[in-house]
Structure formats: structure tokens, C-alpha cells
């Protein structure tokens, strides 16, 4: 994390950051967006997952992957978007070595999903409503490696389906940004549409950052785009730095300009990549090789019905239905598998008088390996705890006296020197108490009494 503190600039509360986010998430479909190459490219030999379509060879025609479109709509619906009746792909034209066609097939004027929202906690736990401008479908580019003054290109990733989610500039602090990213990551995993691994680049974030005087309602007349920052951690650091830098510039009487900045991890600062004068002109136009997409309400309804219970709904249900703490509910719903394990255990616990809160506590604190431990084992353990292990020395002594008087033959054998028979006496006590005795403790007591 950056060592720079916001210091006086933040504590005087004169400025409010205004942040909008663009997130790209790579879908985990079997095949690519517009061709039948396998989209499972990660860690594979370079240039082994390509064909004329994703290499942009002349004459190759794209062919839309239906599942990718459905996945994009699922994300849109989960984010309360309207699914467009009519949707079109367009060509976004620019030159870069990772883009073999000279354009990216993306969406611009007719995105698949528009006008959604999501509630996100800020740093103080208050709910913030973040408006979603659009959720659209596009394709990924190839991967570049820079080495020894040259750039090497691997096109395995070229054409892998990518969904872009654009928010309105509704973020005013970094915590909300962080929580938003986490919330979406969980959503993608619940929907099963992406592995959402930030380290592997499944999720990439771009931010538009500006600041305005507190109380001002209009958006600032500039914005700084933070781009090509491939680690989520660095993005957060870059946003924090940018807020501080911009406030400082304004305080010193400078006018801030529209520009694109990157992150220098060594210097822990952002640096200018491109100013507005050299801004891109993508010359979008409708992709003539792809017919338009028409979504009928019954088809949208079908996709809506196929959505699983979403992470935040599950979280709320756990709080309401089981009385679980909010922080516990958050942990329990991190993965669908864990949430399911919790619910099965709770169901089993009901039959044995173990309540849901105890189960939640156990799972959150002990973090059992759910692929090994059975829900019944957890309930057994909790039942033991609930009735309580016998710790009282007087009570333990009485138990020892009891089994000694009930087993005179064993006691005789023991006294003749065959000390291992003490196990039999311990076993008898365990049976009497239903296992609620610490065997080592009772052994010492028995030894003492048999001396």
C-alpha cells in the first residue's frame, strides 16, 4: 500500500472524490466469442488456440457464441439492468499488436444491458447505491510480452468473451470501490460465468477519478482515467494516490485536465500516459458481419428464472432466517459450496437441538475443510460441547470410584502389574458419560485411586 497519506487534504473535508469504474470480466465459456477455438487458454503453449477468425485472417467471419450472450444477460439481470430488445455489435477501430483485425468487436450504441444498479457498503458499512450504465459483450485481445526491446504476441486469448460493466460516477471513496469489486467477483462465481480470478486477469478494472468541492452537485469538468493497471491492489493504490494528487493540485491553484494515467509501483505514484489532445478516435460502426440480436421478453424471463440465489440475497437470508451475524453471513456466502455446507449442517443440527448460530460460529472460526469433514461430525462435536465436557474433579472422582467398584476383576489384574487394563476402565467411563470425559484426565484420576 502507498505510504502517502491524505493528511490535511482529507481531514479538512473540502473535497469529495468522484469515481466511475469500468470492469472487464472474462467469461469461462468453452469456446471463444466468435469462433470455436477453446477459450481455455491460460498457461497453454502460445498460439495453439487460434483459427482464421480469432487471428483476423482475411475473409474469416465471426459467429456468435450463444452461451456468452446468455452469460452477459445474466450479469445484467443480476445488476438490475434492462435487457435491450435490440442489440448490435460494433467495430472499435484502433491499431495495436494485440488486436489482429485492426478492430475489436465490441458494443457501443446498442449494448445488451443498460440502466442497472447495485447496493454496495462503503467503509462505514452504509449502503451506497451504484448505478450501472451498461453491461455489454465484447472480445478479448491477444497477450503481449515485452522482452529485449521487442514485443512478442500470443493470440490464444484473442477472441475470448469479455463482458464490460460500466458504472456511473457514483463512488466517493476507495472502500466502496473495493467492496464493489469483491461483490462483483462473488456474483460472477455464483452465476458460474467466470472464474473471476483477479491475479490471472479474469477481472480487470479501470477507474475514472476526479474530485470536486464538497457540496458541489455537478460533475467536475475533467476526469483522469487510470488504465492498464493489471493488479487490483495497484488499482486501489492508484486511486488513493490520484485523489491526493488532484486535491493537492487544486489547492495549489492548478486546473486539472482530462488525461490517462498509469501506475508506477516502484515510485508508488501515477504517471501521465496520454493527454486529451491525443485522445483516441475509435470510429465505431456496426459490425456488418453480425446480424443484430433481438431479445424477446419470454427469453429474458427464461434466463432470469435460471439465475441462482445471488450472494447478497443469500447473505440477507442467512441473517434473517438463521440470525447469523452480518460478518459471518458474508464469510459463509463467499462460495456457494460453503453456503450449501452450512445449510445442510444447520438442517441436521435442528434434529439434535443445535442452533444455526452455533453452526455459523463453528464454521467461521474453525474453518473446517468441507471436502473432508461431514456436517454430522460438526453436529456431534457441537452436541458434545452443548451438554458440556465433565470438568468437575469431584464428579470425575465419583465416576472413577463407580467403575472401580463395578469392575473388581479388572482392578485385580491391574494391581498384579498389567497396567494396560486401565483402558477398560476408561472405556467404561466413556460409555457411561457418552464420551464427555477427557480420557487423559480420567486416566490420571484412576491411576491415583488404584495406587
Amino acid at each position: 500500500m502507498t505510504s502517502l497519506s491524505l493528511g490535511g487534504y482529507m481531514s479538512n473535508q473540502k473535497y469529495e472524490p468522484v469515481i466511475g469504474l469500468e470492469m472487464h470480466v472474462e467469461l469461462n465459456t468453452k469456446s471463444k466469442m466468435f469462433c470455436r477455438c477453446s477459450a481455455d487458454y491460460f498457461g497453454r503453449e502460445p498460439n495453439t488456440h487460434t483459427c482464421p477468425i480469432c487471428l483476423g485472417l482475411p475473409g474469416a467471419l465471426p459467429y456468435i457464441n450463444k452461451v456468452a450472450i446468455e452469460d452477459c444477460i445474466k450479469i445484467g439481470l443480476a445488476l438490475n439492468c434492462t435487457v435491450s430488445e435490440k442489440s448490435l455489435f460494433e467495430r472499435k477501430n484502433y491499431f495495436y499488436p494485440d488486436l489482429p483485425k485492426g478492430y475489436q468487436i465490441s458494443q457501443y450504441r446498442w449494448p445488451l444491458c443498460v440502466n442497472g444498479w447495485i447496493e454496495v457498503d462503503d467503509g462505514d458499512g452504509n449502503k451506497r447505491k451504484i448505478r450501472i450504465n451498461r453491461v455489454h459483450q465484447e472480445e478479448d485481445t491477444g497477450k503481449l510480452t515485452h522482452s529485449g526491446g521487442v514485443t512478442l504476441i500470443d493470440f490464444n486469448r484473442s477472441g475470448v468473451p469479455l463482458v464490460e460493466i460500466v458504472t456511473e460516477p457514483d463512488f466517493h471513496d476507495v472502500d466502496t470501490v473495493r467492496n464493489y469489486a469483491k461483490k462483483l467477483q462473488r456474483l460472477f462465481r455464483y452465476l458460474g460465468v467466470s472464474n473471476a480470478d483477479m491475479e490471472r486477469g479474469d477481472m480487470r478494472l479501470e477507474a475514472n477519478v476526479s474530485v470536486r468541492p464538497v457540496g458541489q452537485k455537478e460533475l467536475p469538468g475533467y476526469r483522469v482515467e487510470l488504465k492498464n493497471i493489471n493488479s487490483f491492489r495497484f488499482m486501489v493504490a492508484a486511486i488513493e494516490y490520484e485523489i491526493k494528487r488532484q486535491i493537492k493540485e487544486l489547492e495549489e491553484g492548478w486546473t486539472l485536465k482530462q488525461e490517462t494515467r498509469g501506475w508506477d509501483e516502484d515510485k508508488k505514484s501515477t504517471y501521465l500516459q496520454r493527454s486529451k489532445e491525443e485522445a483516441h478516435d475509435y470510429r465505431y460502426f456496426p459490425e456488418p458481419d453480425l446480424p443484430e440480436i433481438r431479445m424477446k421478453s419470454d427469453e429474458i424471463g427464461k434466463i432470469r428464472k435460471s439465475l441462482p440465489e445471488l450472494s447478497w440475497d443469500k447473505q440477507n437470508r442467512f441473517i434473517e432466517e438463521y440470525g447469523v451475524k452480518k460478518s459471518d453471513a458474508e464469510i459463509l456466502t463467499e462460495l456457494t459450496e460453503l453456503a450449501e455446507f452450512f445449510e445442510v449442517t444447520v438442517e441436521h443440527g435442528k434434529k439434535h437441538g443445535v442452533d444455526a448460530k452455533a453452526v455459523a460460529n463453528y464454521i467461521v472460526n474453525k474453518k473446517p475443510n468441507i471436502s473432508v469433514v461431514l456436517p454430522t461430525q460438526i453436529i456431534e462435536e457441537l452436541k458434545g460441547k452443548k451438554v458440556g465436557v465433565i470438568e468437575n474433579m469431584g464428579e470425575l472422582g465419583e465416576l472413577a470410584d463407580e467403575v472401580i467398584s463395578e469392575n473388581p476383576a479388572m482392578v485385580g489384574v491391574y494391581k498384579k502389574g498389567k497396567v494396560t487394563v486401565i483402558q477398560v476402565l476408561i472405556g467404561a467411563i466413556m460409555r457411561k458419560t457418552g464420551g464427555k470425559v477427557n480420557p487423559n484426565k480420567i486416566r490420571e484420576i484412576l491411576k491415583e485411586k488404584l495406587r
Binding site: T29, K30, S31, R36, C37, S38, E45, P46, N47, T48, H49, T50, C51, P52, L55, Y63, I64, N65, K66, V67, A68, I69, L88, N93, Y94, F95, Y96, P97, L144, T145, H146, G149, V150, T151, L152, I153, D154, F155, K227, N228, G262, Q273, R274, H280, D281, R283, P286, P288, L290, P291, E292, I293, R294
Partner: protein, 97 residues
């Protein structure tokens, strides 16, 4: 419609074409002529016509999410002017725009 030298420069930059001063001057004239020619289309009144982006009249042409064989790495790289470590090699670009 007269295209200015600056507009020619801009279009050339977008197309990644290096132009000499003479070429810039030359193209500002020739491209202007082409634009004039195309301009004739504006004589037709299209105010009641929806823009046509696609002539097939089809929609929702999808394929199932199934995979097929890819080209071999050897084939893919066979036309590369330069290659290294099974990748295409190009002049260094260090800052993604």
C-alpha cells in the same frame, strides 16, 4: 467537401500511415474529390428510412458453445515475418495506449 491538411493528418495517423508533406497536400485534394463524389448520395431523401447495417434481414444467429480443432502452432506462425519463443515478434511497444 474540402478536407483540410489537419484532417488528412488525423486520418493518416488513425490509419497508421506515415505521409510526407507532399502526400498530405495531394491527399487533401484527392480525398476531397472522393467525398464530393459520395456526397451525391445526399440528394436522396432518406428521412423516413431506417439505417441498414445488415442486408441479410436475419437476427439471433447464434452457435452452440462447442469447441473445434484449432490451427497448429506451426501453421499459425508459418507466415510470421519474425517469430521468437513460438510467438509473433514485432517492434517493441511498451506502453499500451
Amino acid at each position: 467537401m474540402k478536407l483540410t491538411r489537419d484532417q488528412v493528418k488525423h486520418v493518416a495517423r488513425l490509419a497508421d500511415l506515415p505521409l510526407t508533406d507532399e502526400e498530405e497536400e495531394k491527399y487533401s485534394q484527392t480525398i476531397s474529390k472522393i467525398l464530393d463524389y459520395v456526397e451525391q448520395l445526399n440528394q436522396v431523401d432518406t428521412s423516413d428510412v431506417e439505417p441498414t447495417f445488415n442486408v441479410t434481414g436475419q437476427n439471433n444467429v447464434f452457435r452452440e458453445d462447442t469447441t473445434d480443432a484449432c490451427l497448429s502452432q506451426e501453421e499459425v506462425l508459418s507466415n510470421a515475418p519474425k517469430k521468437k519463443n513460438d510467438m509473433f515478434e514485432t517492434k517493441g511497444v511498451f506502453e499500451k495506449e
